[in-house]
Amino acid sequence: MCLAVPGQILELATDEGGLPSARVKFGSVVRDVCLAYTPEAVPGDYVIVHVGFALQILDEPAAQATLALLDELPGG
């Protein structure tokens, strides 16, 4: 249930009920996502999306730091 996946914002929009939303790309799939909880997100940002809601903007330096740790593994 707490599954949340990162996706990249393509464009901003407003949903039928007036809430901020966005077209978000997850790999090859594009879905509408509610941005009410990340109103400062802009196109190009990666957001963590849970059941159609963006819950946080991905912190890119922190993500890069984790990837760098992965590179340090033997054979990585």
Binding site: M1, C2, A4, G17, G18, L19, H50, G52, A62, T66
Partner: protein, 336 residues
């Protein structure tokens, strides 16, 4: 103990336990909202779904949890209008499209999901919908961790805390738990490497005699969490005691809809409250949820209880520990 069922699945899927030294054991926690939703509430959802004037909307995970009179797929087969949604706001569209019918959103989940339900209720109020309500079973993780630590049977030396719960709540809620019980709490993500980072921090703390809160999922978790989401949850819900399946009533273990939004509370709108329902006796889900036994130590695991015909919720949900073991740990013999 990894708290979240999503982490349990990563651990089982990538056979992470098999790669670890024997001194490190992963105890699987209760972090599967479908698994801890009380049987009586599932039965209430089935009863609401069977009302002629009602449409029940819920997430796919809830469909196959058996209640006393079958699951929600059975209810649908008996004529109930049950719709699977992937976004709580979709239930509002159903309400707008069917003004002559009652739309009930059956919403379960931890702190990660509560903001989505809260905003949906607020939005129903904004849109002045009079035919929409929520059967809510939202639970809170920290009180469950405290309950586990207070148990005399507790074997937990450190927690891998649920990353996406902390995405919403932040990390400060865990400071008192870590301090009071002197137990390391490491905020951990869901990729195999994230799990290893969590274990690395937990072991480093234990070996050096430290016990603190550490964040190894910083790309998605900020110390303050998401304050906008927290404020919305606080506006719509109040912290309350909550019954967890397998664990009993947990003080401050859940959320109830505030009186200001009472008209959107299905438990107050309808009087279809079933009394306490007995759990299937052969199922040892309660012990699995408390981390007291591994799924394969249940005599019914892989025998009478399989994903196709589950006895208990941990075999139903994609996040349940029993389902994870059944799906990925095929080299483990049942009941060893």
């Amino acid at each position: 103990m990894e708290v979240c069922g999503g982490q349990t699945h990563t651990i089982a899927r990538y056979a992470i336990e098999d790669l670890l030294p024997s001194e490190i054991e992963l105890i699987h926690g209760p972090g599967c909202p479908v698994c801890v939703t009380p049987l009586a509430l599932i039965e209430q959802a089935v009863l609401l779904a069977l009302r002629a004037d009602t449409v029940l909307c819920t997430f796919g995970d809830m469909m196959r949890v058996p209640g006393q009179t079958g699951d929600l797929f059975d209810a649908r087969a008996r004529g109930a209008d049950v719709r699977i949604i992937t976004n709580a706001l979709d239930a509002l569209s159903v309400a707008q499209d069917n003004p002559e019918r009652e739309i009930v959103l059956f919403a379960v989940g931890f702190e990660t999901t509560a903001p989505t339900t809260a905003l949906t209720i607020k939005q129903a109020s904004t849109l002045s919908l009079s035919n929409f309500s929520v059967l809510a079973a939202h639970v809170r993780v920290p009180p469950a961790m405290t309950l586990i630590l207070d148990s005399p049977q507790c074997r937990v030396d450190a927690f891998l805390a649920a990353g996406h719960v902390c995405t919403v709540t932040g990390t400060t809620e865990y400071e008192p738990i870590s301090g009071q019980y002197q137990v390391p709490v490491v905020i951990t993500g869901f990729e195999p490497f994230d799990i290893l980072l969590g274990i690395d921090s937990a072991v480093a703390q234990l070996e050096s005699g430290r016990a603190g809160v550490e964040n190894r999922y910083a790309r998605a978790v900020r110390p303050e969490g998401n304050p906008v989401a927290q404020a919305t949850v606080d506006e719509v819900f109040a912290v309350s005691d909550q019954s967890w399946r397998g664990l009993g009533v947990i003080t401050n273990g859940g959320l109830r809809i505030r009186d200001a939004y009472a008209q959107y509370d299905a438990t107050r709108r309808f009087d279809s409250v079933p009394s306490d329902i007995a759990e299937p006796t052969a199922c040892r889900a309660a012990e699995v949820l408390q981390g007291l036994i591994k799924p394969n130590e249940c005599p019914e695991f892989g025998r009478a209880c399989q994903p196709e015909h589950p006895l208990g919720a941990p075999m139903v949900s994609t996040e349940g520990a029993c389902a994870a073991y059944f799906r990925y740990r095929t080299h483990i013999e049942p009941n060893i």
